[in-house]
Amino acid sequence: MAKLTEKHNYDGTLICVEGIDGSGKSTQLALLRDWLKSCGKDVIYTEWNSSPLICQTTKLAKKKNMLSPRTFSLLHAVDFADRLQQVIAPALKAGFIVLADRYAYTAFARDVARGVEPKWVRQVYDFAIRPDLTLYFDIDPKTSMERICFNRTPKFYEAGMDLKLSNDPFESYILFQSRVIKEYKKMLSEYDIVKLDANDSIHKKQVKIRELLQQILAEKGVAI
């Protein structure tokens, strides 16, 4: 079985983007996908909490504020395991470039920010495949909030309201996401994650990402 700590042996390439909401990672991944497709590469895209097996249940439970940190963690692990085995692993075996919007690191950051033990959650995701490249979009919580909550209140779990850090969702969002960012930063060296400045222009980031990907593909003998 694959391990997060060991290089995988599949023909394909796994690229992940990480960071808190509003950091621009999905925009970058969409641009990357279109470019790879236009180059004639086999690409698939998969996003966090989207497995047909469980994502509706998780969304419903979130809406009803029913989840303890541990249950929250395990439900997302179910989603991840399902996508890993049904989508990600087969695509990698078939030589695809797999673009993942959030990966196990999201769980490590969020669940630990919720008080789950770092070792426990890492062990839960032990079956994950190690990405060839992980990009972290560094943004401060205030800018993130301005981007995603300009016309709405932060949602219950998004703001970490379950932790009762503050009764004000906006203040809670800042406090909780600061914790999440702290966990992300601890992981940069632990997992060889490349940090990008989310405040850079869309163009600048995309140029950098394409460069990084070209290097990785070149190492695998794939020209692009």
Partner: protein
């Protein structure tokens, strides 16, 4: 009265588990024990495996449609357990109830390991669970189990371990699967100090053994 017994988990209440394979008579004994303890004015809470309002239906549906692999199987049951533990079991223990459980995480250990999961990985999933004060194990030979199951519910796909691919014949598959589960239980008996009871004994005989063991603890005044 002096409290001689201290609960193993540190909560006010008492945690009693009945383990055993399908058809070993667990639910019958649970009901008898519940009645007997309630008759003595104790508060009793019963909880069965895979009954969380959040996840149980998802598991049933996914099983019906054959959507599960070994990892999602393990994680879904772990999520069900976490939800029940945090929403029912621990609150009841804190309030001083006697909590009677039909299966505990030993069931997951047996079933998941038979499905090829690494035992340490499974143990980690449940490592936060409180240690029960008593674990009764109903020991039943496979031939008796087979007759009981065939005579009542009939052979079920997962109970027969058909998903593991031991055999496409229901009878053979059940025999192989349940034997492998029994092997796991056998190993756990000592490791977790199960009180093993011969499941072929009569219902009142088994009840007496369980009832006496629980009363022995209660007579120490632990819940007074």
């Amino acid at each position: 009265m002096k409290k001689e017994y201290k609960t193993k988990h540190g909560y006010e209440g008492l945690l009693v588990v009945i383990e055993g394979t399908d058809g070993s008579g667990k639910s019958t004994q649970l009901q008898l024990l519940k009645k007997s303890l309630q008759d003595k004015s104790y508060g009793v809470m019963v909880s069965e495996w895979k009954t969380s309002r959040l996840i149980a239906d998802v598991i049933d549906d996914a099983k019906e449609r054959n959507l599960l692999n070994a990892t999602t199987y393990s994680l879904l049951y772990a999520a069900d357990f976490a939800d029940r533990l945090e929403n029912q079991i621990i609150p009841a223990l804190k309030s001083g109830f006697i909590v009677l459980l039909d299966r505990y995480y030993y069931t997951a250990l047996a079933r998941d390991v038979v499905r090829g999961q690494d035992i340490e990985w499974v143990k980690n999933l449940y490592d936060y669970a409180p240690e029960p004060d008593l674990v009764f194990y109903l020991d039943m030979p496979v031939d008796v189990l087979l007759k009981r199951i065939i005579g009542t519910t009939g052979l079920d796909f997962y109970e027969s371990g058909r998903d593991v691919g031991f055999s496409t014949d229901f009878y053979n598959s059940f025999e192989i699967y349940q034997n492998k589960c029994l092997e796991q239980y056998e190993k756990m008996k000592k490791e977790y100090g199960f009180i093993s009871i011969d499941g072929t004994k009569s219902i009142p005989e088994i009840h007496k053994v369980m009832n006496n063991a629980v009363l022995e603890i209660l007579n120490s005044g632990v819940l007074n």
